[in-house]
């Protein structure tokens, strides 16, 4: 199965080719469903001037937040960055640029990027700062703004299971942005909890078909929880 075996055995191999100035599309929502080991590898590589596209930017010492320590991120496109004091400081200091994007628009921009749709109209953000500089068009009398798609040199995602062909299945709400991110990278790398043989995943239950995935690596995950809330 040489042709479609996407499994790599080291993080170096998983992120090979990443270079300064690249755009990385990252799956995850908060700290849930994030490719922990791939992020650590990017930190180890010390790649700089990155543009990161992700719903959030992690926290100070976990998730994408660790790429702030050495100022590896030049710009972030995200919907919410409120959990990160270092980010706040770098933003105020002008070290980092942020493009705040509504969450649904961000998800759709990633999907559109993977789907060959360069732009779409949405009512989201019309009449707000998000609409500044964007084309407005009316459909059925309601104004919508034009949003453009996003792609990147790399996409990094976290899945529950992958088969060797790169077919992915996500677990519970750790799915979040991962399926769209997976479609939007020129090179898409999936870090997973378990690698299985082709045929072990039911074809109709695959969330991300392997055609979108270039590399698969077995990870081990801390799975930190931001807000543990319980009932009696």
């Amino acid at each position: 199965m040489a042709g479609f075996d996407k499994v790599v055995s080291s993080y170096e191999a998983a992120m090979e080719g990443l270079k300064d100035g690249d755009t990385i599309i990252a799956g995850g929502f908060g700290l849930c469903g994030i490719p922990e080991g791939l992020i650590a590898e990017i930190k180890r590589k010390q790649t700089k001037e990155l543009t990161v596209v992700s719903n959030n930017c992690g926290v100070d010492d976990f998730g994408l937040g660790i790429l702030l320590h050495d100022r590896q991120i030049k710009k972030i496109i995200a919907s919410y960055v409120g959990e990160n004091a270092l980010f706040e400081q770098q933003l105020l200091d002008g070290i980092i640029d942020v493009e705040l994007t509504p969450q649904g628009t961000l998800a759709e921009k990633m999907r559109a990027g993977g789907a060959g749709i360069p732009g779409f109209y949405t009512a989201t953000g019309y009449g707000t700062p998000v609409a500044e500089g964007k084309e407005v068009k009316e459909f059925d009398g309601r104004p919508y703004i034009l949003e453009e798609s996003i792609t990147g040199e790399f996409a990094i995602v976290k899945a529950w299971k992958a088969d060797r062909y790169g077919n992915l299945v996500f677990r519970h709400t750790a799915m979040n942005f991962n399926p769209m991110a997976a479609t939007a990278g020129k090179i898409t790398v999936a870090e997973v909890e378990e690698i299985v043989e082709p045929g072990e995943l039911a074809p109709s239950e695959i969330h991300t078909p392997g055609i979108y995935v270039n590399r698969v690596i077995q990870g081990s995950f801390e799975k930190r929880i931001e807000r543990v809330t319980t009932r009696k």
């Binding site: 929502f29 908060g30 700290l31 849930c32 469903g33 719903n55 995200a78 919907s79 919410y80 960055v81 409120g82 706040e88 933003l91 942020v98 705040l100 509504p102 969450q103 649904g104 628009t105 998800a107 759709e108 990633m110 999907r111 949405t122 009512a123 989201t124 953000g125 019309y126 009449g127 707000t128 700062p129 998000v130 529950w160 996500f170 677990r171 519970h172 709400t173 750790a174 799915m175 979040n176 942005f177 991962n178 399926p179 769209m180 969330h207 799975k223 930190r224 929880i225 931001e226 807000r227 543990v228 809330t229 319980t230 009932r231 009696k232």
Partner: protein
């Protein structure tokens, strides 16, 4: 007397109807789930990708892979569906969610809402709020009627950066229930013991008071 947070949530819960799919924002809106009227079933949508949000887990049930849009650990209710964030916002943007309840800094008489950004202070981001207000057919805003300093939050025109335009239909504050239509706030109900005069004095935007204004009713 002004309502407390729980009472505001109780009043908002009266807006629920049987079979409603509902998205509840962070803060007071979250509390609404505790006051679903008897005999009514609603299903909670969490915009990270969960339809049918259940209660918080017991300690044994805590699972890092099962969180809500507030990044809290939750459970899935019986009959829940889990999907990706593009699908989640497809259902929000496409108007499939029956009711959205969210907080705000300001609302104005044209139904504009400002809820996500205070310039000069830190910008945390809008998260899913702009999608929710653009997509929902039915938006209820919860907030205190005025700031601690007594400044009205119901304005002629919002002063803060907007979250959405012409979208807010109903407001439940600690003092009143108001409908927004035809460029004005319409006073529908007042909190028990709160006078119409107080509401008038704390509403900066155009306020229509038509006849007697009943007090809110709470099931005992």
């Amino acid at each position: 007397m002004a309502l407390n947070r729980e009472q505001i949530a109780m009043r908002v819960a009266q807006e629920l109807q049987d079979g409603y799919y509902v998205n509840l924002g962070i803060g007071i809106p979250t509390l609404v789930a505790n006051y679903v009227p008897q005999g009514i079933e609603v299903m909670l949508q969490s915009e990270n990708g969960l339809l049918g949000m259940g209660p918080y887990p017991t300690e044994d049930q805590v699972d890092a892979d099962m969180i809500n849009a507030g990044k809290e650990t939750v459970t899935a209710a019986t009959g829940a569906a889990i999907f990706n964030s593009a699908e989640s916002f497809a259902m929000i943007r496409g108007g499939h969610v029956d009711l959205t309840v969210l907080g705000a800094f300001e609302v104005d008489q044209n139904g504009n809402i400002a809820s996500w950004m205070i310039p000069k202070k830190l910008i945390k981001g809008m998260g899913g709020a702009m999608d929710l207000v653009a997509g929902a057919q039915n938006i209820v805003v919860t907030m205190t009627h005025a700031s601690k300093h007594g400044d009205s939050k119901l304005l002629e025109s919002c002063t803060l950066p907007l979250t959405g335009v012409n979208c807010v239909k109903k407001i439940v504050t600690d003092l009143a229930v108001l409908e927004v239509k035809d460029g004005a706030f319409h006073l529908l109900e007042r909190a028990p013991g709160v006078s119409v005069d107080e509401i008038i004095s704390k509403t900066a935007g155009k306020l229509i008071v038509d006849g007697d204004v009943p007090e809110m009713q709470f099931a005992s």
